[in-house]
Symmetry: C2
């Protein structure tokens, strides 16, 4: 979200000239205003959605044609994606979508769990009363959704709940890192909400986390969150094994 403070009196020209600023709200990213940013966003989305399969080559010319731009902005976008780990650029040999090995996936899940648990611990220590109340309220709403069996809305709220916890840690650096990791793992987590009985199970795990945070139990929040994320990972693994058996 971008908030712009505008002096209605000043015509557009002088507004810029005097440096009236577009203030960015804390913790948000600027909207993609330049071609490169749009490209990077689009390509990241295409990778995360699986359209660009892991291991596939990203030909600069093809991408340039696809997005109707020249190679220059494509290259800049590719470099940007490379530093996020989504793709790999091999000097003089082009870029490929990063192939995540099972071992690396395991590491990503573990790292994610640790970061989330850390956020939960900090949140338990430093959340404001308002934040705790809103967290509790969201959790209760998810209880209703779970009973209604609305997996889609539940997933949305689940995302908000976790984001709320990152924010509650009151540490932008940590929140950004955790969010980034979460995004990278999104493709692997998506499927599991359709698993039978996942919703109520998820809810009861959340219960422990939320309760610990609300009562300010740092160690408890850490443990409960680690447990929760580990279970999410476990059910992902089960899903994989199942797919191997019944492809």
């Amino acid at each position: 979200m971008i908030v712009i403070f505008v002096c209605k009196q000043c015509p557009a020209r002088s507004r810029r000239a005097r440096g009236h600023m577009a203030l960015r709200v804390e913790g948000t990213k600027a909207l993609a205003e330049t071609t490169v940013d749009k490209l990077a966003d689009d390509m990241a989305e295409a990778i995360l959605s699986g359209e660009f399969a892991p291991g596939s080559r990203l030909d600069e010319q093809l991408l340039a044609q696809r997005y109707a731009v020249s190679r220059t902005p494509v290259r800049e976008a590719l470099r940007q994606l490379a530093t996020t780990g989504l793709i790999e650029v091999r000097p003089r040999r082009g870029a490929i979508v990063t192939q995540v090995t099972p071992a690396q996936l395991e590491e990503l899940f573990v790292a994610m769990g640790e970061l989330e648990a850390t956020c939960a611990r900090l949140a338990a220590m430093s959340m404001l009363p308002t934040e705790r109340r809103r967290l509790q309220a969201l959790h209760e709403r998810m209880g209703v959704l779970a009973r209604q069996g609305d997996a889609l809305a539940f997933a949305d709220c689940n995302h908000d709940l976790h984001t709320m916890i990152y924010a509650g840690a009151h540490n932008g650096v940590l929140a950004d890192m955790t969010q980034a990791l979460r995004r990278r793992l999104a493709p692997f987590r998506r499927a599991q909400f359709h698993l039978e009985g996942r919703l109520p199970r998820s809810l009861s795990e959340h219960d422990a986390v939320i309760a610990a945070i609300v009562r300010g139990d740092a160690a408890g929040a850490h443990t409960a969150m680690l447990h929760h994320v580990t279970l999410v990972e476990r059910s992902f693994e089960e899903l994989c094994e199942e797919q191997v058996r019944n492809p």
Copy 2:
């Protein structure tokens, strides 16, 4: 470090043609082979060393002249640095070296502490006997250096010690993130090793961390490391205040 598996029988030409690969060792970065990578490294170094002051503008043409290249690779390097948070590129308004506010610095230190503590916890759980022994050995060597008052060698070993702990967590993702944060904070940590009495104090703090890791006490390692990093931060703050008083 790069390890290349070579078939001695095949001449260089066919080796490439047949796709014999240069295997990158886990957890390391490729050497800068392309102009852009070299630029990015150089510029990052210049920023971290303070040559490019926080807030200063990075003019593409000037940079291109300085490194005797065209603007194209400079722009790509800038984009790369931007995603690491070292600089900020404002659309159509050029790049500036990120200005870290005291509040952000505090967040960086806290995040760093949490990550280091997490690494220590995981290391306590999953380090191999060899790794524990080497950690212990390095710690003892640092004891000697501290008694000799060799601050420079001590700082080197200190770096190695922490790196060893990241590696001991057996999680490349976490290790990379921690290392990156450590690098970003390096300019702010550098000065403090010259503080009076810092070496022996640092050593005794390490003692608690190492002991906990070696005996496999996960919770203890976490707590001790968090304590250690917090103290490092504290002494940095003291240093700042002192400089404010006697500039």
